[in-house]
């Protein structure tokens, strides 16, 4: 019993240290403009930023902007995932296609999706579609590559077992290939969700379609530093929420598979 409590103490210590770290950061932030190390015009007081956050959270317009950011995020992620799963499974299963597409993938994947912003603007103007082009392009590769890995990772012994028991192609796909690829897909999805959020907000900043990113850009050009910091904090919280949710989903689907998979898909 005593030991159980030392365990709990350790968890408590960890939580406590985390809170101390967070509090320490906020105090330092508050002290820097207070002591005049940086002019509060450039680094506003943390209290002002917090007040602004509270103010915004009461404003319906704020939630509408958040909503449009998340809408383009969700649509982009869904389209990219669907396309990547379908194409990834086909390419992953056919060795000829895998070899033939290899160079193409290796060339297209590293192209920074932001390079496509000018093209997207030309084609769609400052609408959500322009942002979607960039979001989909960036998050597609994350899922696509993982799905190809996953489909190719089917254990040779398991495949032979399936063949020796005379499983049909269709049965092999549903009972062997998809379960093997699922953890990879989840990893790809987690990475894609983060990337999609980054590009949703980036697109709003650069292109100017409505959303949180646009608010950041507007605050900057208006010299509203309190607003700027407040919106940056919001995007951070949003990113944190996306990470936590997708990490949780990934862990749930992976729990049975972790030992088999090793470190491949970090």
């Amino acid at each position: 019993m005593r030991v159980l409590s030392t365990r709990r103490l350790r968890a408590l210590r960890k939580a406590l240290l985390g809170v101390v770290g967070l509090a320490g950061f906020l105090v330092v932030w508050q002290l820097i403009p207070t002591l005049g190390l940086i002019n509060s015009q450039y680094l506003p007081y943390v209290t002002d930023v917090a007040a602004r956050l509270f103010e915004e959270s009461l404003d319906l317009a704020f939630w509408r902007r958040l909503g449009s950011t998340m809408t383009s995020w969700a649509i982009g992620l869904a389209v990219a995932t669907f396309a990547a799963v379908v194409l990834g499974t086909i390419v992953g299963l056919v060795p000829f296609l895998r070899r033939a597409t290899h160079t193409m993938v290796e060339f297209l994947r590293p192209i920074p999706s932001v390079a496509l912003i000018p093209l997207a603007v030309l084609m769609f103007g400052i609408q959500m579609q322009a942002a979607l082009v960039i979001i989909i392009y960036a998050s597609f590769w994350q899922v696509f590559v993982q799905v190809i890995y996953g489909v190719a990772d089917v254990d040779a012994v398991a495949r032979d077992t399936a063949r020796s028991f005379g499983l049909t192609r269709r049965e092999q796909l549903t009972h062997l290939v998809l379960p093997t690829a699922l953890p990879y897909l989840m990893t790809g999805l987690r990475l894609a969700a983060a990337v999609a959020l980054i590009l949703a907000i980036t697109a709003e900043m650069v292109i100017g379609n409505p959303g949180l990113g646009r608010m950041i850009e507007l605050s900057r050009s208006a010299g509203d530093s309190v607003g700027l910091y407040a919106f940056v904090v919001v995007t951070g919280l949003l990113g944190l929420a996306v990470n936590l949710v997708f990490r949780f989903v990934e862990r749930r689907t992976l729990s049975w598979h972790q030992s088999v998979r090793g470190e491949e898909a970090r």
Binding site: G18, Y42, T103, V114, P118, L122, I198, V232
Partner: protein
């Protein structure tokens, strides 16, 4: 293994037969060539101004980037990119090692680092602009402020997860602190660190482009945005192509370095698979 206990496993090398080389050449270039041809055909027939044919883009590429523009726009961008990446790697690994080795520091900083990692890096551009003004330093700092997080967090995780038997081995032979760092902790964490660097590279490139689109009167990102605003479509495409080449270049260099640094890691995987 039981039948050949004295055998030394050798990592396989592909036999260099001519026909095989030709085949892999065909596989490597077949699809890109095919797509280029299709693009060319479609572009000459369609009326869309936004998709000029590949030859026009190629001509624009040569006209735009070969010459003084390379020195004025491309080199400074690449210089800042290189500086930012180097700083991110050095600071990320150094800080990550310290944080990974000290449990109390790790627990103190963990929630904070999680938050900073979650901030979409481009939103830091206005913040850094506000703090540092529109300077070259600002652009490098922007790159570091975004690219450092995956490297830092992966290093922390890799250092923390050093194998217990490996640590006991180091203990029992009384390896010194430096030897331990250099021969155990960093190599053991290197697969994780390299994974972090890979993520950091793509973030760095994104930030280089965006920071120049935002606040610059020169550089690759600025040029591309300028071409777009002035409807210089082929030139804009040539910029996209150049950025793609930079991305591929980074990926290739990273691949070479990674293969060298993680030779043992890939070797183990290959031996296990056989």
């Amino acid at each position: 293994m039981t039948t050949h206990p004295e055998r030394i496993a050798v990592t396989r090398r592909k036999p260099g037969v001519g026909s095989r080389i030709a085949a892999s050449f065909g596989y490597a270039l077949g699809l890109p060539m095919l797509l280029l041809v299709i693009w060319g055909l479609v572009a000459t027939r369609s009326t869309s101004r936004f998709f000029p044919d590949p030859l026009t883009i190629f001509e624009a590429f040569v006209d735009t980037w070969v010459g003084p523009a390379f020195v004025e726009d491309v080199l400074p961008s690449l210089y800042r990119l290189g500086l930012g990446i180097t700083a991110s790697i050095v600071i990320g690994i150094a800080a990550g090692t310290v944080i990974g080795l000290l449990q109390w520091l790790r627990e103190l900083l963990e929630p904070l680092l999680e938050f900073f990692r979650a901030i979409p890096p481009p939103v830091l551009i206005p913040v850094v602009m506000l703090l540092l003004g529109i300077t070259d330093t600002m652009k490098v700092v922007v790159i570091v402020s975004g690219a450092i997080w995956p490297i830092l967090l992966n290093t922390i995780e890799g250092v923390r997860a050093t194998d217990s038997v490996m640590k006991e081995t180091a203990d029992s032979f009384q390896i010194t602190w430096w030897e331990r760092l250099w021969f155990l902790v960093l190599p053991a964490a290197s697969p994780r660190i390299m994974a972090g660097v890979r993520q950091g590279l793509s973030v760095a490139l994104i930030l280089m482009v965006i920071s120049e689109m935002f606040a610059s009167s020169a550089g690759l990102g600025y040029r591309i945005a300028y071409f777009q605003r002035n409807y210089l479509i082929a030139e804009m495409w040539s910029g996209i192509l150049l950025l793609g080449l930079v991305g591929v270049f980074l990926a290739v260099v990273f691949g070479l370095v990674e293969r060298r640094v993680l030779r043992w890691y890939h070797g183990i995987r290959e031996v296990n698979r056989v």
